[in-house]
Amino acid sequence: MKCLLILTIDRATGTRTSAHKLNSLAQCEGGSKHYPFGRGLQALSSEGSLSCSSTTQLPISPVTNGANDDGAPICLTRPGEAEDELAAFQQLAKEVSNELLLLRYSEPDSSGLIAIGGVQFEVANISCSIEADKASFSVRLYSESGATKVRVPAANIRDRDPKTGEPLSGESPETENSASNSTSGDMVTVTKAKTLNKPRNDPSIIPTSIEKKGKYGFAVEWDDGATIIYSMHAIAKTAANVANTKQ
C-alpha cells in the first residue's frame, strides 16, 4: 500500500516536489479522504470568493493514473474500479447541462435588458452594421415580442465610453490620444490611433469597418486610424438613447 500511494502521487503530478508534499503526511488513518495539496476549492468556496457555485473534485487514484497513461477513458475500460471518479464526472455533466439549459431558455436579468419605448430588448442579441452612407450605424434589437432597428449617428457612438456607453464629452481628445496603441485592462477598448487631432465626435470621422467580437462587443475601425471595441451594452445604450430621444 505504501508503495502504491507514493507511486500514484508521483506519476499523477510528474514531479518530485509533490512527493515531498506527500511526506508531510506522517500517518493516514484508513477509510478517509486526504488532501495532500490542501483544501483548494473547498477553502475558496467557504470564503465565498468563487464566482462559480458548481465545483467537482476528482481524486488521485491508480485508475485515473492508468487512464492518463494508456489514453483510454475509464468509463469504458474499468468502470467497476472507478466509482468515485465516474460519479464525479456524472455530477459534472449534469451540472453543466443544467447551466446550459438555464442560459439558453431562462429570461435575462434586468442588467441584460434595455428599454426602448417601454419595450425591453435583450442586449446580448443586438446586431450592428454600418449604413451605406458611412455616417451612421444600423443597430437591430430583439425582444420576445419583436424587433426594432435604430439608426445611430456615427458621431454618437464615437462620443461614448466603449465599455459603459456613457457620454465622454467631459474628456479632452488628448486623453484618448495618450491611450493610443494600448490594450486596456478590461479588454473592451483597443485603440491604435495614428492621430486624434480632430474632436472625438467630429462628424467627418467615419467608420470604415465593423466586426463582431465574441459575445461581448463590436470592433469598429475608424478612418482616423482608431480601432475601438464597443461593448454590446454601450451600443445598445446609445441606440436606446437615440430612439428614446426621437420619441
Binding site: K33, G38, T55, Q57, P59, L100, M187, K215
Partner: protein
C-alpha cells in the same frame, strides 16, 4: 502546421501566430452537424484564450485546476477574463483533489 502530425516536434509560435492557428482550426474545419463542440484550451489568459473569445460565440466555460493556491489564483483570473468577455463559467473541476486511504493504516516515509 507546427506541432501537428504523428512525429511532430514542439510548436514554437509567438502568441499572435498561435491565436491565428486556433482561429484557422476552428473556423476552417468542417465540423459537420454538431450538438456540442468542446475546446480544450492551454492554461492561462493568453492569446489563444483571447482569440477564442473574440472569434467564437461560446456558450460557457468549464475551468480545470489543481488545489494549489497558485493554480487557484490563475483559475480565478481566468474565470474573471471569461466573465468580462461575456462567457459564463458553468463549473470548476479540481484535479488531484484528494486520495482515499482504505482498510489499512498507511505510513508514508521517505
Amino acid at each position: 502546421m507546427p506541432g501537428s502530425g504523428p512525429n511532430a516536434g514542439a510548436a514554437v509560435m509567438r502568441g499572435p501566430m498561435a491565436g491565428k492557428v486556433v482561429t484557422q482550426l476552428v473556423k476552417g474545419t468542417d465540423w459537420g452537424d454538431l450538438d456540442v463542440l468542446i475546446l480544450d484550451l492551454p492554461p492561462g489568459t493568453g492569446d489563444v484564450q483571447l482569440a477564442v473569445l473574440q472569434e467564437l460565440q461560446l456558450s460557457g466555460a468549464v475551468a480545470v485546476t489543481t488545489p494549489s493556491k497558485l493554480a487557484l489564483e490563475d483559475t480565478r483570473k481566468g474565470i474573471e477574463m471569461f466573465t468580462s468577455l461575456g462567457v459564463p463559467t458553468l463549473a470548476i473541476v479540481e484535479n488531484m483533489s484528494y486520495f482515499m486511504v482504505s482498510e489499512v493504516l498507511a505510513y508514508i516515509d521517505n
